[in-house]
Symmetry: C2
Amino acid sequence: MSAPPPPMSGLIVRSEQPFNAEPPLPHLRAAFVTPQATFYVRSHGEVPRLDEAHHRLRVGGRVAQPLDLSMAELRQRFPHRTVPAVLQCAGNRRSDLHRVRPVSGDLWAPGAIGHAEWTGVPLAEVLRAAGAAPDEALHVAFSASDMVDMPGEESFRFGISIPMGKAMSGEVLLAFAINGEALTPEHGFPLRVVVPGFAGIRSAKWVTGITVQDEPADTPMQRKNYKLLPPDIAAPPFDWERGFTINEMPLTSAICEPEEQATLPAGPTLLRGYATASGRGVTRVDVSADGGRRWQQAELERRPGAPWSWTFWQTRLELSPGEHELVVRAWDSAGQTQPASPEEVWNAKGYLCASWHRVRVRAD
Amino acid sequence: MSAPPPPMSGLIVRSEQPFNAEPPLPHLRAAFVTPQATFYVRSHGEVPRLDEAHHRLRVGGRVAQPLDLSMAELRQRFPHRTVPAVLQCAGNRRSDLHRVRPVSGDLWAPGAIGHAEWTGVPLAEVLRAAGAAPDEALHVAFSASDMVDMPGEESFRFGISIPMGKAMSGEVLLAFAINGEALTPEHGFPLRVVVPGFAGIRSAKWVTGITVQDEPADTPMQRKNYKLLPPDIAAPPFDWERGFTINEMPLTSAICEPEEQATLPAGPTLLRGYATASGRGVTRVDVSADGGRRWQQAELERRPGAPWSWTFWQTRLELSPGEHELVVRAWDSAGQTQPASPEEVWNAKGYLCASWHRVRVRAD
């Protein structure tokens, strides 16, 4: 396996092989733009160590003009764009679902998310240069350098796809930089896809190939795993046909401070966290100190004109001595809010846990 | 007041003056495209009886070239487009909130919604002809022929606005026909706005003026009423500054058959209803016969390529003899689902009741 480099030593490791890790929530909440070293890492096999000078990107399939580009050619031939965007694992907050009934997968806390300024070349520009038709029925598949080890599957090359409509939106990037610095190997050096608003799995790292095709990618992670199953499917073997493919991520929010099981002085207590609505605006964040009976609105911090960015929130609640269940829920620009209980959103693969986030603390 | 014409005699009248009425739910569920005579009616004053031959549409404000168009000029000068779209009152299902704690406004059941094929001229084409800049900071205000009577306000002319970004999307229409026939007076003859995905209040009827301006419309219904207030605001006077403007409508669903308090034969029972996600897809509809403990997926009927259309669903549930709480909840393409209880979404104005819809029946 690839040992994490020193800057990532602050992460909580959920799996050594493949390397999966997330930041402690107060670290995540410390900066509106998440430093690369604090950004969660989700791998599906060994982290490739690639050489930028020899890296190629090949664009083919249903295109008029296939391309085969070096990194220098990609950077020189196409305009650069920086997009502030949240990336988030479909399994973020899976641990809350696991407490309801066991689910499969790494038991992420709410830290499998981050918000960065991604710089790269718009995927749409590359597809246009290759003469791809912007036909909404088509799919854009990404292949990558990493070999995936999945339970019950033979080792296979990473592959995933997105619908053409999303691929042609200007916000999807072939990114070579995060927050103005080069990607580290764990985050996809020298080139990764960034699909704002979609589950992290679609943002292929170490990308080497783009194929325009009639069907979604023919890989287990596209055809099976990343689907939301109905609640009556409790254990393998899963009937994947009954699930729907996870692309856009739901409205969610989390309390980052104080942390679960914290003991605090009674009195006014600062609560801070994040909320995100994947392209919709977050219009209100409600916080409760009594499990959701009474709510108070939090102060919001966001970046105007950045629809794929997130919202930071904070407020002070008065905590009397004793046990408290702190709760947060957000509302989006369509007036949708989060379900109250993880039971309501339970699914066997533990995806999209977007119920109210609850943190139990003690005030002395 | 304007008496409803005979074709609307099947509607349930919620208010005589202004005339507000909705169809019984089995009528609503009878056709995927709601006939005009079955479509809910929401008025804010007396229904204007207008003469198409003398009707004018004036376009002004921040435009390079103000327009003053007869209906004939509007129809001849601009392309026609038909958009299948749901229109829905922001107060649809308000009665479910009223059962939690009293709210103000007409006590709509889930029938203050309909889905029709609207034909008209894209608003974007008219704005372009007037030389309006597609500046996202601007607002497009509509004025109309109806005078509004609102508690606590002097009588005023109807006025409402939408953000320029939405106005410039091709789906917003200046509509003169519904399902291939002329609008009736109750539905805005001779010209109305149709803003797919937004609360019905934005779809001004009897429209006479369009103004491009720096601020939202300066009317009580724009600046105050149609806002979602936080749950601690329980009674007037309302602090409107704490609410957020209702534009896009949330994911919702309803059971249309059987109806509340029905007595049915025990055994397999057909449940039918609608779901809508205002521009997002409805990906799954779950139905329960035991208040939401166990769920079964319904069969979905939808129109491909019509993002503003709705989804019809149906399934058979086995009902044992006794009382049952039937429940429906939908999921959208972002994996968001509806909150379980109307308590969770309660607000003093009774808007956006999008919690699980519950119907109590008895099987013999």
